[in-house]
């Protein structure tokens, strides 16, 4: 499973979101290392739970942010998060039941998230940045 490198085209220009996305990428890479390296099943399980949990928390933060800025396509964005959340929770459950799905989860996370960031998240980037310029005091948006 190839290592994910952060590239500038993944930046949304919203520091808190880019920070969270980078953390998810780190987790995906850690999961890959664990799967391909000498990690025990328990260690893989730990990273797997962490990446799922962090991704779900990130979705919650992002949705709330989009609500604050009154993003018009929020419902669509939320549905897309929900469908993906169900998928990764299913992987988590399958792994806990003894199925060897860690590598598949890593690939799914990588493919889905990179695509989601490049397409769906970029669609709101401009609006959120404009909103921040208009509403946020200094210090939150670093140019």
């Amino acid at each position: 499973m190839p290592y994910v490198h952060w590239s500038d085209d993944l930046d949304t220009g919203i520091p808190v979101i880019d920070n969270q996305h980078k953390r998810i990428v780190e987790y995906i890479n850690r999961l890959c290392e664990a799967v391909e390296g000498q990690a025990t099943r328990e260690q893989v399980h730990e990273v797997l739970d962490q990446v799922v949990d962090y991704t779900l928390t990130h979705f919650a933060f992002e949705e709330e942010m989009l609500e604050i800025v009154e993003y018009p396509d929020l419902e669509q964005h939320r549905k897309s998060h929900e469908a993906f959340s169900q998928r990764i929770r299913q992987y988590q459950q399958d792994f806990a039941e003894g199925h060897d799905v860690a590598s598949e989860l890593g690939e799914t996370l990588r493919d889905w998230l990179m695509n989601h960031i490049r397409k769906d998240d970029h669609e709101y980037g401009h609006m959120v940045r404009d909103w921040m310029h208009a509403h946020a005091p200094n210090g939150v948006l670093q140019d």
Binding site: P15, V16, N19, Q20, R23, E46, D49, Q50, D53, Y54, T57, A60, F61, E62, E64, M65, E67, I68, W131, M132, H135, A136, P137, N138, G139, V140
Partner: protein, 148 residues
């Protein structure tokens, strides 16, 4: 499962917040200690204290963000709310006799580090700017919430 050390990359640069985070780290280590001693009563006590303290800390932090005008306060609050619900579920499982203490310990450690580095970091600069001239007020808020 190792003892958790405070490292400088966890500093937000807001003294009152760093002190509260350090206290949470102490609780996490107390939980570790209680688990290693196989002291179920102590594990239960630490879980309760940790939830109480963390809730007070969240309230304090949210008020501080609000005063500083942090624009994504509600998003940050939602993350706090999800975490408290999750820890409350662990607490219920523990009270029902399930052996969740080690898993809880791992979740707490990971969550706290992630949250400090990635979510708290976002409001830190704004709050530092806002409170720079107003630390006496924050001490007042601190004693109001924590009684010290």
């Amino acid at each position: 499962m190792a003892h958790m050390e405070w490292t400088s990359d966890l500093d937000t640069g807001i003294e009152v917040i760093d002190n509260q985070h350090k206290r949470i780290v102490d609780y996490i280590n107390e939980l570790h200690h209680a688990i290693e001693n196989s002291d179920r009563d102590e594990v239960g006590d630490v879980i309760n204290q940790l939830i109480d303290y963390t809730q007070s800390h969240f309230t304090f932090e949210e008020e501080m963000m609000e005063e500083a005008g942090y624009p994504f306060l509600r998003a940050h609050q939602r993350v706090h709310g999800l975490f408290i619900r999750r820890v409350e579920t662990f607490k219920e499982q523990f009270e029902n006799g399930e052996d969740i203490a080690r898993e809880l310990h791992t979740v707490l450690k990971t969550w706290l580090v992630n949250h400090i580095k990635h979510d708290d970091a976002d409001y830190a600069e704004l709050v530092r700017q806002h409170t720079g001239a107003d630390t006496a007020h924050n001490r007042g808020l601190f004693s109001k919430l924590f009684g010290r």
